[in-house]
């Protein structure tokens, strides 16, 4: 099956600075990938590259079957991006922002209401974006993303500002991604929480994917698949063990 994301030696320059200095990455449908790494490691730039918001300078980048070297926009209707900012308008209400995004994506307005309910913002539907708390804004951004029913969901620090209930909503979204046949990339510093839900962790260091960590979720998933295979069980890989450098 064709991967949802396929990067080979992807380089992205911000000015003259190589924010990504040759990243290799494959993401399959249904996978939840945790992108970890320190500040300035390139997590946000990697997500923005995949969304087509920044230019690929060298290497190959194929997302949802589209070659980003030649076309950065055609794949966007199949993805959703929750970034550091909400992409919403201060003077529109929660529901107006959501309906605008939903109708722009060509989806039914009912999808906006369903997303509103899913993130628990129904009671704030008539409140303008400017009056929302940071956590409510995060939920709205997540609702906008979910209302598009994307094949690829890109989440950049999605836990920031979320309360306990909001984190629960986010966990549920990540857990449902496999059954909804959705690939998810999450850049986060909430490592323990996200590792518990991720199928794989990719570590970025100075703009390079320096290693892949098989998470507990993937290990148990791999063990389940091995048990189903004729020939018996594959030896388990301890959670957190670095098993394969990406480059």
């Amino acid at each position: 099956m064709q991967p949802v994301v396929r990067l080979r030696s992807a380089v992205c320059l911000l000015g003259r600075f190589p924010a990504l200095a040759g990243v290799d990455l494959d993401v399959e449908s249904g996978e939840v990938i945790l992108l970890s790494g320190g500040n300035g490691a390139g997590k946000t730039t990697l997500l923005r590259l995949i969304a087509g918001l920044v230019r690929l300078h060298e290497g190959e980048a194929e997302v949802l079957g589209h070659d980003l070297a030649h076309d950065r926009s055609s794949h966007r209707h199949e993805l959703a991006f929750v970034g550091h900012e909400t992409f919403c308008y201060d003077d529109l209400t929660v529901r107006e922002n959501l309906v605008f995004a939903t109708r722009a994506a060509g989806a039914d307005v009912a999808a906006a209401d369903a997303a509103l309910e899913r993130v628990g913002l129904e009671r704030s539907a008539g409140v303008t974006h400017a009056r929302l708390s940071a956590g409510q804004r995060r939920r709205l951004a997540l609702a906008v993303a979910l209302s598009r029913d994307p094949r690829l969901l890109l989440l950049d620090e999605p836990h920031a500002g979320l309360d306990v209930e909001g984190r629960g909503v986010l966990d549920a979204v990540l857990q449902a991604s496999a059954s909804e046949n959705r690939a998810v990339l999450v850049a986060s510093h909430e490592l323990d929480r996200t590792r518990a839900l991720a199928t794989r962790e990719v570590v970025l260091t100075a703009g390079q994917a320096t290693g892949t960590i098989v998470t507990a979720t993937e290990r148990s998933e791999g063990a389940r698949r091995s048990n189903e295979r004729p020939g018996g069980r594959r030896p388990g890989i301890p959670a957190g063990e670095r098993v394969r450098p990406e480059r």
């Binding site: 926009s73 991006f81 909400t86 003077d91 529109l92 994506a105 060509g106």
Partner: protein
């Protein structure tokens, strides 16, 4: 979704934001009226001169107000990363251009209606032929809105933001200033036959810049 429906969605969004924030009503409109008043103060000693130059003063005022309207149109996309949201929205860039230009045009037409009353009262102008005045105003407004939206996103993509808009826009829309002023002068003097060539020029300008904007806006938005 069709181009027209997508453009309507964007225009509706921009107009709703303007209706709620009231920037046009509470800031841009008073600015236009103050400019007209300043012209009236400056030229008051000879009201005949004021009446003669009223069309030019009116369109200069509209152009200055248009700079604010265009800057405002892109300022709302700068907050909260909304411009990235537009890029990711799946909307056709041509529809985004047409929608934003339509919203600016509606705001300017409303502004012109009020400023026209100001010109009649302050400058003691009697309207001659109404049809060329209305048609000329409509076409000039479409041309200004299309050009402003195109150069607005160009300024946003340059990194200089709204400070670059006047430098880019005013020289380009000088044909609109000339043609609209001449068309209105002839109409006020009740010689409509002399208005039509200038109205033809306004139509060509409006079609030209609407077409260029429709084709080029996507590339410029990507760089913004």
């Amino acid at each position: 979704m069709s181009l027209v429906r997508e453009a309507s969605l964007v225009a509706g969004k921009d107009l709703r934001i303007e209706a709620r924030s009231r920037v046009t009503a509470e800031q841009i409109l008073p600015f236009g009226l103050v400019v007209l008043l300043l012209f009236a103060f400056a030229l008051d000693p000879d009201r005949g001169v004021l009446r003669d130059v009223a069309p030019g003063l009116f369109w200069v005022t509209v152009l200055l107000a248009a700079l604010l309207a265009v800057s405002r149109s892109f300022a709302i996309e700068a907050a909260n990363g909304a411009r990235d949201g537009l890029r990711l929205s799946g909307l056709d860039p041509a529809a985004i251009f047409l929608g934003k230009a339509a919203a600016v045009a509606v705001e300017l037409l409303a502004l012109e209606a009020v400023l026209s009353v100001g010109v009649i009262v302050l400058f003691d102008v009697a309207l001659g032929s109404i049809a060329p005045i209305v048609l000329g105003a409509f076409l000039a407004t479409v041309g200004i809105a299309a050009t402003g939206t195109l150069y607005g996103v160009l300024a946003a993509s340059s990194g200089a933001r709204e400070t670059l808009v006047p430098v880019l826009l005013l020289p380009v829309v000088s044909p609109v200033l000339l043609a609209a002023t001449r068309a209105w002068e002839a109409a006020i003097d009740d010689v409509p036959s002399e208005s039509w060539p200038w109205i033809g020029l306004l139509a060509i300008f409006a079609v030209l810049y609407t077409s260029i904007g429709t084709l080029a806006f996507g590339s410029l938005l990507e760089e913004a």
